[in-house]
Symmetry: C2
Subunit: 176 residues, 2 copies
């Protein structure tokens, strides 16, 4: 059986490929996500209500490439999203990896960037229709902070930890 | 506008909730995923062709709770999946966290377990219809191993790193 679009909505479509059903973004967009750190060893996280999860979720700042301007590169999107959502910017960007966060149910791919030496230059909070709270969390107390958030019913996207694993390995390599 | 099911397939359905479209598993199943380690500081990973990604993907061993027996607990599912996919078992299990891997497009939730002291007791490779290759990778060379896999076109689910961040923090705490 060939690949068939079983449903096409405004934002997502369902594809049936032989025996497998999965979801795709209608316009084929991929995501960018930023592990953003300050010079004070703090990580910049965002919290927002996520309709699919029906609760607030803590995540890295993130967005879709080409959401505003279709000619925008992945890195340009990442810089724009970081500024819009958190009010921070950085001159130190590095692509860490491309991941497929849920390969069984969606073809979504996401590029993870590391932005260091981030500095506050704006208000953040997201664009129109977004309601985003920014958190500045010292890395050394991240796990206890996450535990406190969980206790009040906030979900955490563990993707925030995968980038930190890379960051700490890299820092370890620089030191050794 | 109320929540509305816009499409219902064999395995997944599309929900429109006010202004947001997202995908859900038809039977509301959630996932389990295992960061499985041996006494020799090796991580047990699986590689399989993922239809949505259209390439091989490296992941933690994983599966759906209640896929075989609807009364199965999350921990029982995790133990079964580890054994089926890799041939390993463990007596040391710990729940690390519940995550929402892609909160913008799916309501999927996944429980991540840490299984230490894993020992080989079976063949692995998955059940009928699955074609899973098991990899035993020393933690100290994980990043270079991943880079080599990427160079030959294999995708990596960065979820394998988030659990390791927890594991290494925990080990650090035990040592200090």
């Amino acid at each position: 059986m060939a690949k068939e679009i079983k449903y096409k909505g405004r934002f997502i479509e369902v594809i049936d490929d032989d025996t497998w059903e999965y979801v795709s973004r209608v316009n084929g967009q991929y995501a960018v996500s930023i592990c953003a750190l300050t010079n004070n060893n703090e990580i910049i996280l965002v919290e927002q209500f996520r309709v699919p999860i029906q609760s607030n979720v803590i995540e890295n700042p993130a967005g879709l490439v080409g959401d505003v301007d279709e000619n925008e590169s992945a890195l340009e999107s990442a810089k724009r999203e970081l500024l819009e959502e958190t009010g921070y910017e950085s001159d130190n960007w590095k692509e860490l990896y491309i991941t497929c966060p849920s390969a069984g149910i969606t073809n979504e791919k996401s590029v993870k960037y590391l932005a260091t030496n981030c500095r506050k230059v704006g208000k953040g909070g997201g664009v129109e229709g977004e309601n985003i709270t920014m958190h500045l969390v010292p890395l050394k107390s991240l796990q206890s902070w996450v535990e406190r958030k969980k206790k009040i019913g906030v979900m955490v996207d563990a993707g925030i930890f995968s980038a930190l694993y890379f960051y700490e390995k890299q820092r370890g390599l620089e030191v050794n």
